[in-house]
Amino acid sequence: MLWYKSWLDTRWRFLIGLALLVLAAFGIVLYYPEVVKLLPLVPSIDTSSGLGRRIKEAAELQRTYGGYIFSQWFGQTPTQIGTLFAVLLGSGGAVSQGAPLFTLSLPVSRNRLFAVRAAAGLAEWLVLALVPSLLIPLLSPAVGQTYGIGSALVHATCLFVVGAVFFSLALLLSTVFTDFWRPLLLACAAAFVLGLAELLARDLSRYGLFTLMRGEVYFRTGALPWQGLLVSAALSVSMLYGAAMNLARRDF
């Protein structure tokens, strides 16, 4: 029943996120023929300015279908919308939402309450990371292209593992604050600052969470970013552990 409660607590956030990401996946795949028509215009882009150079680089990436999917899908939509929904799924926590005193009066330990909430949220986030990404190889034949399921899985894994960091951060903050909005806003602010830092410090961006989330290393070299994924997973586990400890100690 705790699983059911967790589902009821988060179902609208999850379903809205899933609908948005699925629609975006459809849109991006089905729009590819239009992009192909624009590709002949790429050589005429003026590269004397920094902006022109970057537009040309981005456009060049789209000469292959794999590059297009990376730049338009894995590099953008799930990273941005996904981060927001990972944070949304973590916000509210195990007890703060709804009726805290009723929840705490149930014959269930706080650790179990937390474990179920965290596991249910992570399962929903896994679906958000996996399903729309796996739609890409399934939809690609509709535009006469192919995309490997293996590649989609690797990108979805990067998305899930790094998104779990933001999910865990929101869950941790939810054990500190009693309301829904402060954990959400603070976790979003943290993600925004990290994203901005990666954009400004391009030399260091290869160590950035969002670079890892996009699966950029895998796209460019074909190698799995094991170290980054392990560090992210460790970060999530530590934050979840901290959140569980916080919840166990907290007065309501």
């Binding site: 709804g98 005193l101 269930v108 100690r249 007065d251």
Partner: protein, 299 residues
């Protein structure tokens, strides 16, 4: 004797950010009693209940329910398994409908009684398909009571169960509670600042003030032992200094001295006669007076 106490706290303390909510609260609730926990707003009633149910960790002292330490994690789960609870705000899941709320709660209690559930659904006339957030305050209280009563609990803990209800609804809720307790082997511990409802259903009472129990005992014993002794003088009343035990409070107002005693009124009267009053009256004291004298009187 320890097993006879369903709830037992000793020198219980709780401090929130430097504010002392409980200041050495010592309390014993016997099995099978209907125990009224009376106090002003902010006296420490809700904090005590939260400590008993493991929602708040005490800063000091000891709290036991069914002989189990309330602040130990596995014991606390066992306490909650055997306890029904209704919070002051009637905390329930707003997004569930009445039936889902009942089924959700029932899933945690193996001793859940479907017969009682059916009986209270009929009695309270609760609409199964209505969302909890759409229920009136009274209906919400009834639902909170239903999910607390049907779980086969040995102890019912109610925090201000009738707060916010109109008199008719208050009466209905209290009657339901009384008739339930009459048919079940259970202990009821309920907090209130409504003296009338405590007098109506409680057989034992504790008055709490500023985090401490100031009066405790069987309601009949308190009524029996507390007396107001009024001494009237034909001159300015002398400054009294009673040595007899049981003097709770002495008030002196021109020609009148009023003494509230918790026991041994006869000895106090004997001592008072030595002051030379023109008249001495000894009258029984209602719970309301005891409350006002022991709680409000200390302000």
């Amino acid at each position: 004797m320890a097993d006879a106490w369903v709830i037992e706290t000793t020198d219980l303390r709780k401090t929130y950010d430097g504010t002392e909510a409980l200041r050495g609260l010592t309390l014993q609730v016997p099995a099978g009693s209907v125990f009224g926990f009376l106090g002003k707003n902010g006296a420490g009633k809700t904090t005590t209940i939260k400590v008993l149910l493991g929602m708040v960790r005490p800063t000091g002292g000891d709290a036991r329910v069914f002989g189990l330490a309330a602040d130990a994690q596995p014991a606390s789960v066992e306490i909650r398994r055997r306890t029904g609870f209704v919070s002051e705000d009637k905390d329930l899941f707003d997004y569930m409908d009445v039936e889902t709320m009942i089924r959700f709660t029932a899933a945690f209690y193996p001793r859940w009684s479907r017969d009682l559930e059916r009986r209270y659904l009929r009695k309270f006339d609760l609409p199964l398909d209505r969302k909890v957030k759409a229920l009136s305050r009274g209906m919400r209280t009834k639902l909170a009571l239903l999910v607390a009563l049907c779980r086969g609990a040995e102890l019912l803990v109610l925090d201000e169960p009738t707060s916010g209800l109109d008199p008719a609804m208050t009466e209905e809720v209290l009657q339901a509670l009384v008739s339930h307790v009459a048919g079940e082997q259970m202990t009821v511990f309920f907090s209130s600042h409504q003296i009338a409802e405590v007098e109506q259903i409680a057989d034992r009472v504790a008055i709490v003030d500023r985090g401490r129990v100031v009066v405790a005992g069987a309601l009949d014993d308190l009524r029996e032992s507390y007396r107001r002794i009024q001494l009237v003088f034909d001159r300015e009343a002398p400054q009294p200094a009673f040595r007899a035990p049981g003097v709770v409070r002495v008030r002196r107002d021109r020609r009148v001295i009023t003494v509230l005693s918790s026991a041994g009124a006869e000895a106090i009267v004997d001592e008072a006669r030595a002051l030379g009053p023109t008249s001495v009256d000894v009258v029984p004291v209602a719970l309301k007076e005891i409350f006002l004298e022991t709680v409000v009187g200390e302000d």
